[in-house]
Symmetry: C2
Subunit: 336 residues, 2 copies
DNA sequence: CTGTTAGCGCGTTCAT
DNA sequence: ATGAACGCGCTAACAG
């Protein structure tokens, strides 16, 4: 942008126009294909562009066009293994539509989210809010700004904002059904981040699980394998025959602890994961879990946002069903 | 930006100025603290801002200031577990300096990198190139644009661009030393992405390893646990007593295969990882590996870029030493 | 088909 | 201390 000492002078569109002996408008037209231009001029422009190494200034373009060519993504934690696949998919979709991707993280601090989203709105055409932890009121307030926005893995009843979410409730219900069918009556749930809607949805499934004759005790845990490791014995204390987990990481952590305790899985105890983080090769343990393709999830999220940006039309809320993967960490409870 | 149908009218600085009964210049001064303003006017401005819900347009600010307030990061693969920690650290540093973070990925396609970097330069104050796969010539060409740029995990001899890299060569040398000292004479290396400088540096260490009396055979593999699993038997065919890996994922994948083959580690065979991806809790296997804090690495990378942006001064190249973690997958070779 | 003109929204002189 | 005027770099509407 403006010339700063020690940096090469910015080459602008007018530099190109004078070098090519045409008007700036013509340069713009050639570069954007906005209108037909005499081929001789086209060549001269291209030559000038090449020789000067001209690149249009994105801020100026944005200002003039009223579009930044950028989407913003907010995630609670960049280090959470759930999001890389999502970001990758969103990035791919964005790029396919000529858009860049700005990324921000709240570091699991709900209070930080509002300002971050506000900032994203100042510099992005649309915003994708992944698993936002902020409360409903804040979300409603942000939605009220009418800035293109898509909710990802967070459903807010009564808020008409395009959204895409995994059916966590249904997924956990499948898990409960599976475990109950095996004959388990009491299970523990290693709970994830307290502000997480996704976690709340999983927990909500336990009400319905009573109908299967399964009683689930919620144990505070977290989202990492270390948390799962640490919380495993507390879960055991609840006197259960099965452990359900917030995610696969937690489950593997718990498995690690159980092994140390000499408890054999699934003979003595059943363990179920969540999300299918594809760590089986690493853990060489085939974990029973439930999942949905994160690639597909991220891609569709990006597409919904893109559609919103282009047509201005809110796509219908998407609710993706999870698939149960029966593997080798669940079995009937030990017969006493 | 410009009003588009179906969206609320953009509130600009002049809306605020008329509402507050002051000039736009005053609003700007109040918001940026650029100059002293009468406190009564300050209040009126703040009130107007709040009531109108005014947010400065980032593109306009960028254009006027000659700064975007944004840094760009390019990574080869967003799904590679090495980068989340890096991105998180870089994002934190950027935010601490009031900058946003734009992220792009080349999807391990070296040919795509050049255009992506060019695009980043059009909209970012500075660029961080993580493990770029492009060839030296392209890198030199990009550096020639004098756009603030930092190289991360890629050293280009003769190119004076600020850089921060892990001493992969030294790390692998430590690995070789450790293995040789245990008495191993022949090892296999499960090789990573061919275009990766980081991989090349690891391989380069094998020349020096001959001095320890260790002969290392390079086996094509990849960067995932699946690749490690698949390549494990090929490594075995080389008739070795130890397997060295491109990263921990590969090592765990290989371990998984070895277990299937009934080969016990470290009694029959030693296995060494790389990077310490902290998967031990998941794999409940204490992998001998070598590493450097990715958090620190990312943070310093961000700081080097920040310093470059602020002072314009190239920081000296940083070369971070790796630390060897002796755990439980290495032991002397079996006595015949 | 092409050049001229007028903004896009903001920061920053320069006068006052 | 404050306002008016100009420019950042580019696109779009308007003439010709």
């Amino acid at each position: 942008m403006q010339n700063r000492p020690g940096r090469p002078p910015r080459i602008t569109i007018s530099d190109v126009s004078t070098a090519a002996g045409v008007s700036a408008a013509t340069v713009s037209r050639v570069l954007n294909g906005t209108a037909k231009v005499d081929s001789s001029l086209v060549d001269r422009v291209h030559d000038a562009v090449r020789q000067l190494g001209y690149r249009p200034n994105a801020a100026a373009q944005g200002l003039a066009r009223g579009e930044w060519g950028t989407i913003g993504v907010l995630v609670p934690d960049l280090a959470n293994p759930y999001f890389p696949d999502i970001l990758k998919a969103v990035s791919t979709v964005a790029r396919a539509h000529g858009r860049r991707m700005m990324v921000m993280e709240s570091d699991e601090n709900p209070a930080a989210e509002h300002d971050l989203v506000e900032d994203l709105m100042r510099c992005c055409d649309g915003v994708l809010l992944c698993s936002p932890r902020m409360d409903r009121a804040e979300l409603v307030e942000l939605a009220g700004r009418k800035h293109p926005m898509v909710l990802f893995n967070r459903v807010v009843p009564g808020l008409s904002v395009p959204s895409i979410s995994v059916d966590f409730h249904g997924g956990m219900t499948q898990v409960c059904g599976h475990v109950a069918q095996l004959g388990h009556r009491r299970a523990a749930y290693l709970s994830g981040p307290s502000a997480s809607w996704a976690n709340a949805e999983r927990i909500r499934a336990f009400e319905g699980a009573r109908a299967f004759g399964l009683e689930v005790t919620v144990v505070e845990c977290g989202a990492t394998s270390q948390a799962g490791y640490d919380a495993a014995s507390a879960a055991l204390d609840a006197g259960v025959t099965a452990i359900l987990s917030y995610n696969d990481l937690v489950a593997f952590g718990a498995l690690s602890r159980l092994q140390e305790l000499g408890i054999s899985v699934p003979a003595d105890l059943s363990v179920v994961g969540f999300d299918d983080l594809s760590l089986d090769r690493v853990a060489h343990t085939e974990l029973t879990t439930v999942s949905v393709s994160r690639d597909n999830l991220g891609r569709r999220g990006g597409e919904i946002l893109e559609e919103l940006l282009v047509t201005g039309h809110d796509a219908d809320p998407v609710y993706l069903p999870m698939t149960l993967h029966l593997r080798k960490t669940t079995a009937p409870p030990p017969t006493i």
